[in-house]
Symmetry: C2
Subunit: 248 residues, 2 copies
DNA sequence: GCCCGATAAATCGAATGCAATATGGCCTAA
DNA sequence: TTAGGCCATATTGCATTCGATTTATCGGGC
């Protein structure tokens, strides 16, 4: 039944085929690899919401035995991506409206913090880069290019978080972002035209506060910005956008 | 080498007392137990900073085999309490000054967020309770009872975080708090008299903003408050307070 | 015909075993 | 005497195995 399943793998440690660049520079632990792959697999939505996570199947997919897989699942559970039911295995955690709202608020708090810290540390060059992105985004807005808009939008928020120069913050942020990304609202947030314009105006004030390095003010703006995103997202969820587990 | 290290704690599985409601309805998963025990063991400082964590030894201490222990270690690594060296086991993660500074900033951001959210949701009764604690703390301050002061201080901050009514925020906060608590500054933060008075004044403004439910303002105050704590803590660390791994 | 209980299969959680790697001590040589 | 290499031991990482619990299937009772 397991035709291949060669237990040997004779020194072919590279069979994992780390295509990732960050692993190239160092012998990035063999099994963080598994963790990353499994996390990506889930975040990308390859497993339906709330469904059982078949250990056996994933084992042969990843070419490993159950032990390291289960270790990875435990970690993902602690990250909030899956939940472990006693004696009933792991399920992909389904985010309720309430959960999503909480997540957005915490993201808002962290982005606000990032903005505050960024104002203390950001360089003129970094601000110039964000300005450039901002105008690029504005261009996409004018051309109603939603895809381009969202891409640059993500980039701007990312730049602000990076400018905080706080690795702890960045990893916490990445963790929460992963949980949200699983439900790929991103492409749907601002479907409503009026919300889009509002978001664009908010970004104007973000850039303005950043230029003036007004940390406290920027913190407020970013939190409010995420609050509005939250409202749009939760309304979107309530409208049943995620009812269908299959990709649209 | 671990002179005391009582491995017993006989069947006292309930000692963890997960205050969380979602776990109450069921017989709290068999091995979250292990995770909690191991985490407490490390947070309480029973293992020297940066020292190897011999799996074997912990196994017999916890009366389990290596498999669940290793799962727990992986989770603790993802929480940032330990670090896993490939083929060289787990070490208790040693926090640098820089790490500590980052942690305090993120804690400050989260507490600020908690304050902001609390202002939206807190009840008069909860505010009254915090007021009561505040005056109790003030009493300890006047009597120079540092122990009592810190206890109530912790309680106040905890109450604010709880009043945010955001479980995601609370768990993130608890995670970071755990990392810091490992270095038990808590009893040493405000050794300096002038800082103590300053902190007390800050708490006055916290309570004031909370009464007025001025979320944005409270957010600023709490962040600044933690920033000051941070400064005191990092200076304390720089003074070599943690050089000795043994409890003071 | 439908529901319920019992048995069989499958799955989960933990323990053990085995190969690979690191650690420490010892010996040899300069 | 000291530095460097080699071997024995211990420890890690993963696979496999074993017991326990759950889930599915089947037969009997109402």
């Amino acid at each position: 039944m397991f035709p291949v399943m060669k237990p040997m793998i004779p020194s072919d440690a590279t069979s994992k085929a780390l295509s990732n660049a960050d692993s190239a520079r160092e012998d990035l632990s063999l099994h963080d690899e598994i963790l990353t792959r499994l996390r990506d697999h889930i975040v990308e939505g390859n497993i339906p919401d709330g469904s059982r996570v078949p250990e056996r199947q994933l084992c042969e997919m990843l070419k490993i035995s159950r032990t390291p897989l289960r270790e990875a699942l435990k970690v993902l559970a602690s990250e909030g991506l899956v939940e472990l039911l006693p004696n009933r295995g792991a399920r992909v955690k389904q985010l309720s409206e309430h959960d999503l709202g909480e997540l957005f608020d915490v993201m808002g708090g962290l982005e606000g913090l990032a903005g505050r810290l960024a104002c203390e540390r950001i360089t003129d060059a970094e601000i110039a880069e964000i300005e450039r992105l901002h105008y690029e985004m504005y261009g996409f807005y004018l051309h109603r290019d939603m895809h381009g808009y969202f891409h640059v939008n993500q980039l701007i928020h990312q730049k602000i978080v990076e400018a905080s120069r706080n690795a702890t913050l960045q990893s916490s942020y990445a963790n929460l972002a992963g949980r949200i990304r699983r439900i790929r609202y991103s492409a749907n947030f601002a479907r409503k035209r009026e919300r889009w314009g509002e978001a664009m105006r908010e970004h104007e004030t973000i850039l303005d506060a950043l230029r003036r390095r007004a940390g406290s003010e920027l913190s407020d703006i970013l939190f409010a910005h995420l609050r509005n995103k939250r409202t749009a997202a939760v309304e979107h969820l309530a409208a049943g956008a995620v009812a269908a587990p299959e990709p649209v």
